[in-house]
Amino acid sequence: MSTNAKGVSLAGIVKWYGKVQAVRGVDLDVAPGEMVSLLGPSGCGKTTTLRMIAGLEVPDAGEIRIGDARANDVPPWKRNIGMVFQNYALFPHKTVAENIAYGLVMRRLPRAEIATRVADAMRQVQLSGLDDRVPSQLSGGQRQRVALARALVTRPDVLLFDEPLAALDRKLREQMQVEIRQLQRAVGITTIFVTHDQDEALTLSDRIVVMEGGRIVQSGTPGEIYERPGSHFVSDFIGMMNALRATVLGREGDGRLRVRMEPGGRELLVTGPAGMDAGAAVELMLRPEKVRLNPPAAPGTIEATGTVAHVVYLGPVTYLHVRTADGVLIAMLPNAEGGGAQPRQGEAVSIGWRAADMVCFAPPDDA
């Protein structure tokens, strides 16, 4: 809808805090109208990166561009951005309407236009009628909406979110995720969303950028990040993973690795990154939902028998921890189909998975 959406591009961004290098050379291009999540554990540099885009921090090296213009030396009040803060940072001495109008007042717009745009924005986020409340009289979800309206009403070039949903309870959080996504699509605004919550990133984003230790480790659509993680860190951080230890025996002609699982000694062919020599210790990553109970025999399927060590019932799904000769595997089983009984603890079961669903990575350094 918005025809003047601007892209954001970061090139070689570096930020030091004293002797700590918080951001170690980040390159990122966000297309006009795109919604990108910066995802990573605390301390990975995602919030610092966002604050540099906002102008609240100044990078020590590299270039930030908003649209076609270099933004490094532009102070935040001249950047035409909208930002939703972690605890919303609603002005406690101003009413809801005054909070939303703030950016318009700062832009010295005519009074009548401010009133119209504030009313429109309040309708857009379903806050009509709350004009004269002050932030302390609002619920968490209402504060979130005020913050959103305040950031959007100025029609910024870029919308920035700094973990804005962390304080909400789960149900409200999921509802707000959908609302934010719908609003972002309707407005067509370029959006960068910082979160440490993988579900949030998967729900909201056109593209997820995973950060670790001040660097971008992978960037891709939610599906790509989930299905084809590029590193042990990404595969472990997003979603649940079985990590099975194995040793590399050699590389086949088609590029796949021949590995032997430890313990158990089962030999497999799996895809794996380049540069892995025979004898290297690796971990085979396998999503629990790829493990099936009583699998039909098919070429490429690996079968194992074991006993159920632990059962975790979660409503829609049940997780079975199965002790096999290959180690403990977690299988995710849907509880659909009339709520049929799942195996109980101590029961002997047969499980299976496809070798193609396993991804091989070098284990993390600290393992």
Partner: protein, 280 residues
């Protein structure tokens, strides 16, 4: 609140309330009673003669006007000069902040007499400032730096500044830095950011500091006497004259009650004004 907790709360409050009753309420009652007599010793009254006397006495009205001008001036200067210091203490994160803090509260560690004497040494006719100016040939005869309204203002600002700075710093330190950041992302220049966000949010601190500063200032005695050299008669000095020199106890009591009432009324009006402004 259940009865047991109510009892506990009462027991904990009791000593404070008893002390306040003894040193605040009881003297007021005695003063009030005294002010309603025509003379002491004499019949108990009640008579408003002393109040009428005060309000019809141009000298006393001038003293009252001078006292409240002094209080207003000193409070204003403390707020304007103290705010940046409080800001530095609360927000800068500078490693010099603790030194500035020490410097701020230092006047409180020195006896009021010593502190006032110090200003006398600096500002007197044979004082440091005049000696320097004379020896440099800037002036031919000593400037009369003392015995004026402004020398009293100077001394009072010095004494009362810490109360203002600490009150403002306490409030500034608690304001979430995200408010100013949010305002900046919404397009507020640093000046407008301060005027629309930080200043209104710190009004509580200015108000608390102003109340302390103003009350201490309108009741001040030593500093106006010493630095005013008898030319800056304020209420405390006038009441002392009435009570001790003229032995007019009912007159002094009436002046005291009027001083207290006027102070309360002014502070109430000030509070309303600040509240209205910060809500804007």
């Amino acid at each position: 609140m259940n009865p047991r907790r109510a009892l506990n709360a009462t027991l904990m409050l009791a000593p404070g309330v008893a002390l306040l009753g003894l040193v605040l309420v009881w003297p007021f009652v005695v003063m009030g009673g005294m002010s309603l007599r025509e003379r002491f010793p004499g019949p108990i009254g009640p008579s408003f003669a002393k109040y009428a006397e005060f309000l019809g006495d141009e000298y006393m009205l001038n003293v009252a006007l001078r006292t409240f001008s002094l209080g207003t001036t000193v409070t204003l200067i403390c707020a304007v000069l103290g705010y940046p210091i409080a800001w530095f203490l609360a927000r800068s994160g500078s490693r010099w902040a603790h030194l500035v803090f020490l410097g701020t509260i230092f006047p409180l560690l020195v006896s009021i007499v010593v502190r006032t004497m110090g200003w006398t040494i600096l500002l007197g006719n044979e004082g440091l400032v005049n000696a320097a100016l004379l020896s440099l040939g800037v002036v031919d005869e000593p400037l009369r730096l003392m015995k004026g309204f402004w020398s009293v203002v100077l001394g009072m600002v010095h004494v009362l500044m810490p109360f203002m700075v600490l009150s403002i710093a306490a409030v500034l330190g608690k304001i979430d830095g995200a408010y100013a950041e949010a305002a900046a992302t919404l397009g507020a220049t640093p000046v407008r950011n301060f005027l629309t966000v930080t200043l209104p949010l710190s009004v509580q601190g200015i108000a608390a500091g102003s109340v302390i500063t103003f009350c201490l200032c309108v009741g001040a005695f030593v500093t106006p006497i010493w630095l005013g050299r008898g030319h800056v008669t304020v209420m405390a000095i006038a009441i002392h004259e009435q009570m001790v020199t003229l032995v007019d106890w009912p007159g002094g009591a009436a002046s005291g009650i009027l001083l207290s009432l006027a102070t309360l009324v002014l502070l109430g009006a000030y509070g309303l004004l600040l509240r209205r402004w910060s809500r804007r």
